[in-house]
């Protein structure tokens, strides 16, 4: 009896094993053959490119078609921090880094410090210097060297639900003082509605606003000296301004760019948002009720009549030291960022990048660009005006660490357990101790 079951099951197992083996071999063959677009004539120079911009594969494809001698392979290895950690890991280990990668402006200095990015002036990039807005070119330069091609930017504006503002009789604020009083009044009259959210855990947004307020907390121009100042008078004033609104529940303490926030915006809980040029397009897929109602207006100013812009993020495209073909890599990066051919692709959905490339920025059709959530209005007029006036900022070379620390440092503020000024002090201490442990010569104070 048992023998029969044994033989039976032995046969079945052999069949199963056979199936598994065949499947494994098949999968192995499929999996190991690179499913790259096979190019006739493998004489093209291979370039690897890491980026996460949605739809940038269209630009890569266009480049490959128009430049048959270069084959660029795109790989999305994660947006932001995951990509940077992979980059630093590969650069430190000595192999595995791509030729070109998308690196945000705030992360570029850390790669400049470790000398992992090449000075592209040797490949002639200065010839395109004039086609970019000056502050963007400055962001990618260090001394006389240029270490990346500027890509997109995120000039900021105040984005609001026009129907809701009319309904609640809120004036569009032109100064932060107006913003504050409108927010407080709105909350008093309608406790469940907010003029905007405020999420200090998003460090990039926080620092963009601080830059506009003249409260930039870092000084760094390369080398080992860095100044970290989150507790100076300007920084504290900035913190107190927002703390007043947080305490009065006049701003909604929800995490920025989260499903919660987008749902709030669509349902009329949040009727405004200090946002950058590219967020509205990301907001669109979540919109059902307020489609077409959103308008942009210039970011409120600290002093009436001033015209200081703010920039939230944006990426540059450096070439790495490990690259075997730096000349071709530079050619690709230049094409990607300094040609209308490329921008005509990346300005459209789903990429919807906002350019630092002047020819596009200044073109009339660009100013008349519409996005679905904004109906027939032209938000790019506002954003475009801001794009050329962003303040010039100095990023320290440890933003990965700062960005990783920020949510932890500022979560208590969002949860109402700590004031922003107190969190600034704690964050300062964290960054100072980190910088010191990394061997920097740290000074505090005197940035304003």
């Amino acid at each position: 009896m048992r023998r029969m079951t044994d033989r039976h099951s032995r046969l079945r197992d052999r069949i199963a094993l056979g199936v598994v083996a065949v499947t494994a071999v098949a999968l192995f063959t499929v999996g190991s053959t690179a499913a790259q677009p096979s190019r006739a004539g493998a004489a093209c120079t291979k370039i690897t490119f890491w980026a996460w911009v949605p739809g940038i594969d269209r630009a890569v494809k266009a480049f490959n078609q128009s430049h048959p001698s270069i084959c660029v392979t795109l790989s999305d290895v994660g947006a932001g921090s995951p990509e940077y950690t992979k980059l630093t890991q590969a650069l430190k280990a000595g192999s595995g880094a791509p030729d070109v990668a998308e690196v945000e402006y705030d992360e570029l200095p850390s790669f400049e410090l470790t000398k992992d990015v090449l000075d592209l002036t040797q490949y002639g990039v200065n010839s395109v210097k004039g086609t970019f807005v000056p502050w963007a070119w400055k962001q990618v330069s260090l001394g006389s060297g240029v270490y990346a091609l500027p890509g997109d930017a995120g000039p900021m504006a105040f984005y609001y639900n026009s129907k809701a503002l009319d309904q609640y009789k809120v004036k569009v604020p032109t100064t932060w003082a107006e913003f504050s009083s409108e927010a407080l009044a709105l909350h008093k009259a309608h406790p469940g509605v907010y003029l905007s959210n405020f999420s200090p855990t998003d460090l990039q947004l926080l620092m963009a606003l601080m830059a506009q307020a003249g409260a930039w907390p870092f000084q760094y121009t390369g080398g080992s000296k860095v100044t970290i100042d989150w507790t100076g008078p300007k920084q504290t004033a900035f913190a107190n301004f927002w703390q007043k609104l947080i305490d009065a529940h006049a701003v909604n303490p929800t995490t920025d760019v989260s499903t919660t926030q987008f749902a709030n915006m669509d349902r009329g809980v949040d009727i405004g948002w200090t946002s950058s040029a590219w967020w509205p397009s990301y907001f669109a897929p979540d919109v059902k009720k307020t489609m077409g109602d959103w308008r942009a207006s210039a970011l409120p100013q600290w002093k009436a009549g001033e015209d200081i812009a703010a920039n939230w993020g944006g990426s540059a495209y450096p070439v790495f030291k490990q690259s075997q073909h730096p000349k071709e890599a530079t050619e690709f990066a230049t094409w990607l960022n300094a040609t209308m051919d490329s921008w005509n692709i990346t300005k459209t959905a789903p990429s919807l990048l906002f350019p630092t490339f002047k020819p596009l920025l200044d073109s009339p059709s660009f100013k008349n660009f519409t996005v679905s959530v904004s109906g027939s209005s032209h938000p790019y007029e506002i954003f475009g005006a801001a794009a050329s006036k962003a303040p010039i900022v100095e990023w320290p070379p440890f933003m990965t660490e700062a960005l990783a620390d920020a949510p932890t440092a500022f979560a208590p503020v969002q949860n109402g357990k700590e004031t922003l000024a107190a969190a600034f002090k704690k964050f300062q201490d964290t960054l100072v101790s980190y910088a010191k442990s990394q061997g920097f010569d740290v000074s505090t104070g005197g940035t304003s």
Partner: protein
């Protein structure tokens, strides 16, 4: 054929050289695994231990610091708070989950509920779900403004429940981990229970033992080895908790700090902060803590058995 000894000889020196040679052939069975083990587990471990004696700085590069990193890890308050968190987490989650798992395993084994195989198949399904997917699913279910569970909580009289608020985040993770692992633990306990000889159970029942007594006095002791193994595995899993908070932290950065669990702390130190030396030292420190806690738990169960 002459009767063979059932138990192996008590005195080692009496073993014949033939037996020794034969036993050495056993080495060959173990060699393939051991080679892979050394190459892919032991070697990186050794390298990590080596790394822990150095410090990498953005300015100044690499330098030998001896045990300074260990000193720093030992005195690192954030690390120990993370250890405390996961220890507390484990102390609550593991007994709770094992109790539930054992309860159902016993029920199915005794056949006192209907449709046993059907329930068992369902309970085991979460094992098929990778932690990444589970975290995404639970993220949507518990989403503070539109999640079904949030609505349900409101319905029950708790409006505006934020499952990811500082007060609720740990219970939320407990629930998620219980969801993921109860079925697996239950199946192991169930098969262990099934191997208990019927005769023992029948004897107890005929002696007048109630259902409860049968479960606790007869079955429970006989599956103690399985329980010990599960406790061991679960303790290690709890102390190394990483994926669920990491993914949830992507959705709710305010809920998960960068030192939420020790492994997240190590990850942030080493990979985000590029302090590989300190991260390695912290990891070694964590391994020591895990050994200590696992050993204590195992000793505790052994002591209870002899009591």
């Amino acid at each position: 054929m002459s009767t063979l000894a059932i138990r192996r000889p008590a005195v080692r020196s009496r073993r014949s050289s033939w037996a020794q040679r034969r036993d050495r052939r056993g080495l060959w069975f173990v060699v393939p695994f051991t080679l892979l083990f050394l190459a892919f587990l032991a070697a990186p471990l050794g390298y990590a231990a080596y790394e822990s004696l150095f410090r990498d700085q953005l300015i100044g590069g690499r330098s030998y610091v001896g045990l300074a990193n260990y000193h720093a890890a030992l005195h690192d308050g954030t690390f120990w708070s993370g250890v405390w968190h996961v220890a507390l987490f484990g102390a609550i989650q593991i007994p709770l989950m094992l109790a539930i798992a054992f309860f159902f395993a016993a029920i199915f084994d005794l056949g006192v509920a209907r449709f046993g195989p059907f329930w068992r198949a369902i309970f085991f399904l979460p094992f098929a779900v990778p932690a990444v997917v589970a975290s995404v699913m639970w993220n949507f279910l518990l989403e503070p403004s539109f999640g079904p569970f949030t609505h349900f909580a409101g319905f029950l009289g708790f409006p505006n429940t934020d499952f990811f608020s500082p007060g609720l985040i740990w219970p939320t993770i407990v629930v998620i981990v219980i969801w993921e692992w109860t079925g697996y633990n239950m199946i192991i306990l169930y098969t262990a229970l099934r191997s208990v000889p019927r005769s023992v159970v029948e004897a107890a029942v005929l002696d007048g033992a109630s259902l409860f007594k049968v479960i606790t006095r007869v079955k429970l002791p006989m599956v103690r080895p399985a329980i010990v193994m599960l406790v061991f595995l679960n303790v290690i899993g709890a102390l190394q908790l990483f994926v669920e908070p990491q993914i949830l932290g992507d959705f709710y950065p305010t809920a998960i700090s960068n030192h939420f669990t020790p492994t997240i702390y190590i990850y942030n130190q080493g990979i985000a902060g590029q302090e590989y030396g300190i991260a390695s030292a912290t990891a070694v420190m964590l391994a020591i803590v895990i050994i200590f806690i696992s050993a204590s738990v195992l000793l505790l169960t052994r002591w209870r058995r002899h009591a």
